[in-house]
Symmetry: C2
Subunit: 254 residues, 2 copies
């Protein structure tokens, strides 16, 4: 049965996260509902990552199997006709039937936005953490680089989440300031639960002078969640991009 890969974006502000839940609108439910409508098939979609309520995606990747005769590349348009306007399929293609959007992902890239002035906050409050507190951005950006590398990131994982290993490789962790907006871009081979939000919470403590940039590696090595900063709210978090091996990036036969 052909497997279809979709790259989707969504404004997560109005959904109870990605994953299906009873009696709550989720991204997964909305997409599965429209596949049912188009094909009569009650399919289950797989996703690169199950984003939390309020988290946004610009390049989430999902896949599902279908016996429908809809050509793979027409799925984007077909779904967009019926999906809510805050969920958009950017591209659709056929992919190997062994492709899994989560397990085959080589890298995921997230952005976390902080909006740092009063005027305009009404418009950014659903897409960024809005705060006017004074922060030493230079030190935050210096500290951010210390997250790059392969470590046990248990200090940056929500307590109570079960996982086989806390070891992850962070390829890039970099801050960028653009007017009142500051963005942390972080790319890794995988993320622990709340990892980006705890990293940002820790960088804010650096910005406030409570943690020094040189403290980051000792905090990582301690494997002690209490030494890292608090978890920042979800609305500033954006799943930007998921990277796969080349064989899963290209439609077979194309």
């Amino acid at each position: 049965m052909p497997r279809i890969k979709l790259i989707i974006e969504y404004d997560g502000g109005y959904y109870h996260g990605f994953q299906s839940q009873e009696n709550a609108a989720t991204i997964q439910t909305e997409i599965e509902k429209q596949v049912l409508r188009l094909t009569g098939e009650a399919i289950r979609i797989m996703a690169a990552g199950r984003t939390d309520a309020g988290v946004h995606a610009h390049g989430q990747v999902v896949a599902f199997d279908t016996q429908s005769t809809i050509p793979a590349e027409k799925w984007a348009k077909a779904l967009n006709t019926f999906l809510p306007e805050d969920i958009r399929v950017l591209t659709s293609c056929q992919v190997s039937p062994i492709f899994h959007p989560q397990f085959d992902a080589l890298r995921k890239q997230y952005g976390y936005y902080i909006y740092r002035q009063k005027p305009g906050a009404s418009f950014y409050r659903r897409y960024a953490l809005c705060m006017t507190e004074k922060l030493d951005i230079g030190r935050m950006e210096q500290a951010a680089q210390n997250f790059e590398g392969t470590y046990n990131f248990k200090s940056f994982c929500a307590r109570g989440s079960s996982v086989k290993t806390y070891r992850r490789t962070v390829f890039q962790c970099i801050g960028h300031e653009s007017g009142p907006l500051w963005r942390l871009t972080i790319e890794a081979n995988g993320f622990l639960y709340n990892m980006v939000r705890i990293i940002v919470g820790t960088l804010l403590e650096v910005g406030r002078g409570k943690i020094k940039p040189d403290d980051i590696i000792p905090i990582i090595i301690s494997q002690d969640r209490t030494r890292a900063g608090p978890t920042v709210p979800p609305q500033g978090l954006h799943l930007l991009r998921v990277t796969y091996p080349p064989e899963f990036e290209i439609e077979p036969g194309s």
Copy 2:
């Protein structure tokens, strides 16, 4: 009785416009409700312009009279404590008791945003007109300049709206492209009902090649609404700034 002037911003996407309506959330109702809560006074606020449902404001100006002892400059913080997060008071000050935000306005500036690519549209759809249609932006910007001047703008006024005179002076009408975002900035001594949205609808017809930049002045002079373009949707419209004579810009005695 002291008159307080507020500069406010709001995300209009969740309100039924500025003006009070029975059984509908409006900007006016939200502010009056919070003044009542703070002072016990059932006041009426006056505004520079009554924005329609879905229209946003970055610098709306409102005023009201109060016998409260709250210092004028503390009103911003006091109101922000209780107002919904998508309505923010940017500044508050005392103003002459003869000040009226609508009648004393010398200039109002609006922006209208068009977002012109598929990726990202989920995030811009409440703040811009999202369209991927091919448009000749150069010709649109050339046409825009022809709106500058003092004219009878009846061709650019919603039919059925009663007004003493259709004569308005447009000081500036200029397009600006920034990546996938195009903004028309228009400043005038006043606007007719739907004037900005009909001007943008007409500029889109220029972008499609259906109207020429040189047709703009003849369309204005015709005073015929049917010769102008359609009215574009409200969500792209942003009230940016209102300018007053210097005596109303400064807090008396400060």
